[in-house]
Amino acid sequence: MTTSLVAQPSPAAATPPAAAVPATLSPVPVAPSPSRPLRTARRLRVPPSVLLAGATLAVIVVAAAFPDALAPYDPLAVEPTQTLAPPSGAHPLGTDENGRDVLSRIVYGTRSSLLLGFGAIAIGLLAGTVLGLLAGLGARWLDAVLMRTMDVGLAFPELLLALVVIAVAGGGTRNALLAIGIASTPSYARLVRAQTLGVRRAGYVEAARATGLSEAAVVLRHVLPNAVKPVLVLATIGVGTATVAGAALSFLGLGTTPPTPEWGSMLSSARNFIELSWWYGLFPGLAITVLVLSTSVLGRYLQRRAEGGVR
């Protein structure tokens, strides 16, 4: 009956939280060494594709945090003699219609593009978690009202729901982020609710309650972390999807607007110059694709691990 691609919580996913484990049972100690992450990866038998995805994401995050360290030029510097110049030594990815360096604009665009993706997922996750917890733990009527409302939300395609929010609130980076966040809330709320219902009756939650913990403490310390963990894994994939949604809104002229560099709005301008330059339309989209690929490879791997498929 369920159309969700997400597996139901398996026993492996419902292991007690670290807090419930006595301190003497700390995880296997790892010998400190210069290449500790790599050795940990090898010990866990992380496939090379996942390592590559992780490394790519690391580069992308660095580009978002310190664009000036990676970009050869100012992303807004106009060079009227160098408009739509093909890739060369001076401009590895060519220039755009104003003679701006495409590579530098992609690097600087990382921040706006990731801001849309991460910001939207943060909103969707936060709202979805609160609503899902309320539905899963609250009274039956509250559950019914919230979930029927989420059903209505799910009846709209996400992009259309985002467009409605923008029609009401107007375009721009902040509203686009909000729009995608709101549009992704129903699916997260449904997931968190399903997880909460599973965790609520788990033995360790009953045990925590029996030790005299207050209801709020039980929810915060035991129900919340275990209900949200599998959802967080999915959110890894969601970051990629939300970044594409954000770029799509910018492409449509409703998100981040020029001259601020952003991948979707770069493609929107590039669309007018396809005949004159293949590089302008190629590389910003490649950046989006690489980001989405990396998040899906990493997300799927984490998902398999959480389900105990990989060990």
């Binding site: 293949w278 190629l282 694709t289």
Partner: protein
């Protein structure tokens, strides 16, 4: 399943579907009410038009904006029930008429993309499921890449290669099927890739079933087993995803039609969003919710046709 339980099941489902539609209508009404500024200004042409108070009052009366909200809400639901989606602020013509004028190209695009995507996904998944790791890996790797492609970029790449470099297809507009090829691929490739992943997973599950071994033991060829026995099972998850597919196509139409400068509902929606023509935005959004609900009702009714085991169970 007795006629009575069947009727009851259909009844509950239909009631649920109507509930979702009522909710969707309420959401759109709330969106209308939430929009900042006076709707009357939007009707007479934005805040710069400087209309006289008499004109504004006239518009308010005409659109029922001077009534209390519950009266407006009731009137809104009544109008929707009779198929009236309201009047466009910008074009001053009925939303249903605007939709009717633009629906053709979008349906053509969506149907061709759905056919290409679904058929392609089923063929590729049936052909590659359970094969040597090399074949399977190549297919699922390609699907992962295709599923990750943003459609607006895929369209630009297709235009660069097939339109501007090879000159096989027109870049913008284009008459007949030649103009439909690149937009169809732009929509169908990422969609088909997602579907192929789902179908392959279910085909591989089915290939492990005892009845497949039986069929092989009866001397059926591998292709025969896949087409005659496995295909039917693989259709179940595909049917379940129909609502997702319909929604994806509608959302994708907004981007594809913009990219290829095509007429259609997607372009209509985008221009309505940009000009805050709320009745058109909400009419289109309601339409998509209605399509989603109807598709899911039909899907529910189709399960027993695909899987005979569901005919006896409730």
């Amino acid at each position: 399943m007795s006629v009575r339980t069947a009727a009851r099941r259909v009844g509950t489902r239909t009631l649920g579907a109507l509930g979702v539609l009522w909710g969707a209508a309420t959401v759109t009404f709330a969106a209308l009410a939430l929009i900042p500024g006076d709707i009357a200004y939007a009707v007479v042409g934005g805040p710069d038009s400087n209309p006289s108070p008499e004109v504004l009052a006239e518009v308010r009366r005409e659109y029922g904006l001077d009534r209390p909200w519950w009266e407006q809400y009731g009137a809104y639901l009544l109008r929707l029930a009779t198929g009236d989606l309201g009047t466009s602020y910008r074009f001053h013509s009925p939303v249903t008429q605007l939709i009717g004028e633009q629906v053709g190209p979008t349906v053509a695009l969506a149907v061709s993309a759905a056919v290409v995507g679904v058929v392609g996904a089923v063929v590729v998944a049936l052909a590659t499921a359970g094969r040597r790791p090399g074949v399977r890996g190549a297919a699922s790797g390609t699907e992962l890449v295709l599923a990750s492609l943003p459609s607006f970029w895929l369209g630009i790449v297709l235009l660069t290669v097939f339109s501007f470099t090879l000159g096989w297809f027109p870049s913008i507009g284009g008459e007949g099927w030649r103009g439909l090829v690149l937009p169809t691929l732009t929509l169908a490739l990422p969609l088909g890739a997602v579907l192929a992943q789902v179908v392959r997973a279910s085909v591989e599950e089915v290939l492990e079933e005892p009845f497949v071994v039986t069929a092989r033991a009866r001397g059926l060829t591998d292709a025969g087993v896949r087409v005659r026995h496995v295909l039917r099972h693989a259709l179940v998850p595909l049917t379940t995803m129909s609502g997702f597919v319909a929604g994806g196509l509608f959302g994708g139409a907004v981007i594809t039609e913009t990219l290829f400068n095509r007429q259609g509902l997607g372009r209509l929606l985008l221009s309505a969003v940009s000009s805050k023509d709320m009745p058109v935005v909400l009419g289109l959004v309601l339409l998509s919710a209605a399509v989603y609900v109807v598709v899911n009702l039909v899907v529910d009714a189709t399960y027993p046709l695909i899987d005979p085991r569901l005919r006896s169970a409730t």
